[in-house]
């Protein structure tokens, strides 16, 4: 029972509001796994991930289209982690792959902002959980408006210049498979968001620049980057 976020995301389908809980899947884009190469088999990892590797963007990270993202003191650049976000429509536990999409109310753009970090061994909280590090939006597009979430193209722009163009066709676990595997051990609730995966290398951005993410059919999420207060 999270407390609802105070962010402006238009949502004209049930449950009409986000719950405030945002999960993300790490290394679910083939490019992200490929970027690690053989390191996945060496210490400290010792093996490629088996179950979905998930993380949480807590409520202090949530932000709206147009909100500032602050670069923490002592950090030069941030990563723009562009991902499709699934908005859950009903309590979802032990979904089967063939019916998993029925649990999706709609889709939105997620910018999973990170301070670049070289290791995925330990938790990522100081790198991923800073205030304003998860802009969402600009609106939730109903599931019925998107024919195939696994075929969407995602583009990242910095100051209007295209820096990354990727597609969800390269997801390790496509959307329905991911939902089935996640809900095997945890229930997703109405209004929860699941970011399905960020491609590598994520574009880097500095204070003074603007991050823009476009996903086909979902519009554009744009946020200016500023220097954080010390």
């Amino acid at each position: 029972m999270p407390l609802g976020p105070c962010i402006a995301v238009t949502m004209d389908v049930p449950p009409y509001r986000l719950s405030g809980t945002v999960y993300g899947a790490l290394l679910n884009h083939r490019t992200a796994l490929q970027a690690l190469g053989d390191a996945v088999n060496r210490p400290p990892y010792n093996a490629a991930p088996q179950a979905p590797v998930l993380y949480i963007k807590p409520r202090n990270t949530l932000a709206s289209d147009g909100d500032y993202i602050a670069v923490p003191p002592g950090v030069d650049e941030l990563e723009v982690g562009a991902s499709l976000g699934l908005v859950i429509g009903r309590p979802s536990c032990r979904l089967t792959e063939d019916r998993a999409l029925e649990s999706v109310a709609g889709y939105l753009i997620v910018n999973d902002v990170s301070v670049p970090h070289p290791s995925y061994y330990r938790p990522s909280i100081p790198f991923k959980a800073r205030d304003g590090f998860c802009p969402l939006g600009p609106r939730v597009v109903p599931r019925t408006a998107i024919a195939n979430p696994d075929a969407l193209t995602i583009r990242v722009y910095i100051d209007g210049v295209l820096k990354q163009a990727t597609t969800n066709s390269q997801l390790v676990r496509p959307v329905a498979r991911l939902l089935a595997d996640v809900t095997e051990f945890m229930t997703l609730m109405p209004g929860d968001v699941l970011a399905v995966g960020v491609a590598s290398p994520a574009p880097r951005i500095r204070a003074g620049e603007r991050a823009g993410i476009e996903i086909e059919g979902l519009g554009r999420l744009e946020n200016p980057i500023v220097e954080g207060a010390p």
Partner: protein, 256 residues
Amino acid sequence: MRVARVACAGAIHVAQPQQLADGRAGLRLTDGRTLAEEEVVWLPPLEAGTIIALGLNYAKRAKELAFSTPDEPLVFLKGPGTLIGHRGVTRRPAGVKFMHYECELAVVIGRSARSVRRSDALAHVAGYCIANDYAIRDYLENWYRPNLRVKNRDGATVLGPWLVDAADVPDPGNLGLRTYINGKLTQEGNTRDMISDVPALLEYLSSFMTLTAGDIILTGTPEGAVNVEVGDEVICEIDGLGRLQNTIVGDALFGR
């Protein structure tokens, strides 16, 4: 003061401790009804905001897991679906080899905190609860450890029974913690042995994220976390906070 959130006779209520006429421990709902512990369904004592958890925050526990003491607090997050109340049940999947409890002091934020200093930190605390934060080590993978499949399972974080006012806990840095399985003491520690104590944790966390009223910090568990089996009754106890009871159940109850 201490309050619980319970479901009873078709509604959710706030309740306080009240001894029953026959001497048993009970509770009194805000509307005046007095009931025995087992006559209500205990919910987590508050609607949780962000749930923050600490790994390896007791030195002997780090040693038990063959880890060196971490340089900075080892923090991970949990979703709200993990929480259940006092006297609830937690599922142990068939076939797992090592599922263990973790008795922890839970700190509930009462006032927003950003860049607070250690000396002011406790002023941001509303109160304290007991948490029992189960883990299933069979599912441990070395990616963003401890991964959510280990530590973010439905109903695997018991919270309660009460939210005890911070004013009634003068020193959160000196509280005995104990866990009993079927009445037998299996874990014993004291919050004075935390590597990062409560003020240090608030200072650290608020240095990079804003903590808001309703956020909960699970401060880690001392050594002595041992395996539990289906049917076990697990009680976690913290000085001044009460006793938090939970029962381990199998897959059948969940239709698995």
